[in-house]
Amino acid sequence: MTTPALEIVGLNKHFGGLPATKDVSLRVMPGERRLIIGPNGAGKTTMFNLVTGDLRPDSGSVKLFGQELSGMSTQARVHLGLARTYQILTLFPRETLIHNVVLALLGLEALRWNPWAFLTGYRHIYADAQKALAQVGLADGAERVVGETSYGERRRLELAMALAQKPKLLMLDEPLAGLSLEERQTVRELLDKIPRDVTIVMIEHDMDTALSFAERITVLHYGEVIVEGTRTEVVADPRTREIYLGD
Amino acid sequence: MTLHRRKVLKGIAASGASLAVLKAPYVQAQAGPMKVGFLTIKTGPLASGGLQMEQGLTVFLKERNNMIAGRQVELHTADTAANPAQARTKTQELVERLNVSVIIGPLAAFEALAIDDYIRSSQTPILTVAGAEDMTQRKANPWLVRASATSAQPSHPVADYAAKELKLKRVATIADDFAFGHECVAGFQRVFEDNGGKVVQKLFSPLNAPDYGTYIAQFKPDLDGIFTGHAGANGLKFIKQLREYGSKVQILGGFTPVDESLLQQMGPEALGAITGNWYSAQLDFPINQKFVAAIQADYKVDPGVYAAETYVSGEVLEAAAKAVGGKIEDKPAFMKALKETNLATSLRGPMKFDEFGNVVGNLYIRKVEKKGDKYVNAVVKTYPNVSQFWTYKQDEFLKNPVYSRDFPPAKNLEN
């Protein structure tokens, strides 16, 4: 049996008295496309934050390709091949598009500690950044400042920053949020092009895209895993209809 | 960068006049007005003393129509803001840009110490009013004279008076926790204990202590007296609060706590306080009566020790300038004349200097009394001819460490 890309066991997190995740367990196999759905406040983003290390769980374990992550800092997890995007855009708005991607690339390079060399001297980083931008269709106008770009472009930049890091596990938090129909189409195609050696866990509300993209689906409700299974299984499950798909 | 340069140039333009002065030949400078620098504090928490210093000097010059030894006086006043680094810059400005021949001031010991090496290297005669002991003792600066007193100089006679005349036995001391306070208390303790008294408590409060209640609560109830070395607002605060707490203990003090500038504010709380000082607005010398009248007329206040300091410094400056025929630009000769100054009469009575440039003169024991509707420091005893070494032998005195928190050691503390 192969090691799962992501294995979550018995994850708990309370905010004050309120449970945000309750005994969540999850197993995502390498190369899988996993969709996490659930109504607002179901604990989806909290679960992401627990996996990335932004939050510390009260109990439970998270393993990335068999390696226990608990107690590890966020950046250490990233160095193990974890990357994510944010539902609320988290970019560097005063910098250029390419600089945003360069910062992403720097995160994994030892040279990020160099206080002396010229950053612009590292041609290969800029070349890689340019490639990542091209991947999401932002090759033109890479020198624009983020603040001057459209919302759709920023969404794609989020993705480019994560992709540039060549992650093994990519966690996408509502990558389609706030996009027009046309833009959704672009991003969907983009997601389809991501090679299979990248495992993807995605939170998404846009069911059309999400359902067509995902192979397995996990439904969260009030911090608990309610249903898990293949597309058809989950859609067919009455509990899903009840809490999420229904009316 | 262009902005940078423009700013510098503007600075130069502002001082255009002084350019000519700097390049003027030495002889010409002598023919012109006598340039006197004055370091004082005009901003910040210590401004009170600094402004009084300015009042004293202004009255002095006004009395003389701005002429000393037949020459017009050009006074350059600089605000040190009670900051050592700024004091240094201002001293440099006085010497290098404004080309003064002599400096009066600064007020605070740390300012005087900050410019000490510069005074030596630039060989500028300075009439300081700061109290720091070692400036005229173990680390005497040859270019300095002090016409006021060291920090502890007035503490010695108070201790003597308290032990011998008031027959006090057990006294507590309290002072601001900085060098001036330490020295002031140390001098008192030494003489008092050498005369059979005991200092049973020694407290030091931070300079910026907002409240003295906590210190006052620590005083033992059976004290014969409390010696305070607080200065300025702190002295006022302390004495008022001491009485507020119902303590009726005899207050003793160095030359700062019940200064005339604060006395009216203190009111009845200060009555009976015994302090040692080289000055009192009550001194009946004609010079002083004229001085007090002038300050009262111009500023509606009684002169205190800070105003007197600069006035006396002015008198010394005048005497020395006369001795060298007005040629104060000849620094070695002028410095020699300063140190040789021997005045039979001055604002503070007869005075001269010792070999270190520190004053030898009368010290007065003063008692706060009510005279009419005013509180005054009445002189109750005069100790003539007191030097900074008190009655101790100079050599032995100098062999000891300088007065501090820990010297002389307190042997009689009770806890």
Binding site: - | H4, K7, Q86
Partner: protein
């Protein structure tokens, strides 16, 4: 580098070199040395402030640690070079501890911890009479002779300071264009994202703190050489605040801003105060006005004004109005 900036650098070099020949007399040369020393303080603080968004109110602590160490060692008979090196190293190590403690809290908590630690260092300097001479301060015996070069007189000292400053400025300039500098700026904007990109934000901030401490320590040693005296007043909160104000007044997001700020404040304190008795009010008014109208400091503000001026002249499209320019 563009041709414009090459010209600017050359021009600045010439101006700085020529200062002793332009200004009349030693007083102004000394003033220029002071400006450089404060500018170095402000630049070092600006590493944290402008690039890293860390506002420190305890920067004067380095004056205490490096300054007193240097004085104590020289007074104890060690040679000048040893004293300077040890002082800077010790003070830099102190910066490490200072940083670890301060970085426990974010934002205003950070400011308050730096303030409190600054006050504690001040308290020690003030209280430890036997070591530091307390309120009366300590004299530094004499300026050193680096490589046999006599820096006693004003002009030579200015050049010495200028050389040190130029080296520091060069390093800081390289820093601002380096990968580390870019990461640091990233942590100011989006610390959370930076973590998610694999950056160790805490370590970046700590190293910056230490680097700032290093340059502040160098400036402190220069300060002692210049004043030949150190007392607790130099460590007081006012001093820390003043350094901070220099950086902010000039413009914390630029490299030249802190220099301009140091120039203006030093001149107001030392030169303008001769002519304007209420110079403290003047300083206050300048702050209020500059910060209302140029909230990101004089240098970025003037640049923006200049851009508008040019674009008006050409009658072209209005200049970009990003209110916080980055450099």
């Amino acid at each position: 580098m563009t041709r414009g900036s090459v010209i600017a650098v050359l021009l600045a070099t010439v101006v700085f070199m020529a200062v002793p020949w332009i200004v009349p007399g030693n007083f102004y040369i000394n003033m220029a040395s002071q400006v450089l020393i404060y500018a170095l303080f402000a630049l070092s603080l600006n590493l944290m402030l402008g690039y890293g968004g860390m506002v420190s109110l305890g920067h004067a602590a380095y004056l205490g640690v490096a300054g007193y160490t240097c004085i104590l060692l020289v007074t104890a008979g060690y040679n000048q070079l040893t004293a300077a090196v040890v002082a800077v190293l010790f003070s830099t190590a102190f910066a490490g501890v200072f940083g670890v403690l301060s970085l426990r809290a974010p934002g205003l908590g950070f400011i308050m911890i730096t303030l409190a630690i600054g006050q504690i260092v001040w308290g020690i300097a003030y209280r430890a009479n036997a070591l530091t001479g307390g309120d009366n301060g300590m004299s530094f015996p004499a300026r050193p002779m680096p490589f046999g070069f006599d820096i006693q007189d004003a002009k030579n000292f200015y050049y010495f300071t200028l050389i040190v400053f130029a080296i520091a400025f060069f390093f800081l300039w390289r820093f601002s264009h380096s990968p580390f500098g870019a990461s640091l700026k990233g942590t100011k904007e989006q610390p959370r994202r930076m973590r998610m990109l694999g950056h160790n934000v805490w370590l970046i901030q700590l190293l910056t703190f230490v680097m700032a401490g290093f340059w502040a320590s160098i400036a402190s040693v220069l300060y002692v050489y210049y004043n030949l005296f150190l007392s607790p007043h130099a460590l007081a909160l006012q001093q820390s605040a003043e350094i901070l104000l220099m950086a902010i007044l000039g413009g914390a997001t630029s490299l030249t801003g802190p220099i301009v700020g140091a120039l203006i404040i030093t001149l107001i304190k030392n030169v303008i105060s001769t002519y304007v008795e209420r110079w403290n009010s003047l300083l206050g008014v300048i702050f209020v006005v500059v910060i209302i109208f140029m909230p990101y400091g004089l240098v970025p503000g003037c640049k923006q004004l200049w851009k508008r001026l040019q674009s008006r002249g050409k009658n072209s499209a209005p200049a970009r109005t990003s209110s916080e320019p980055t450099e």
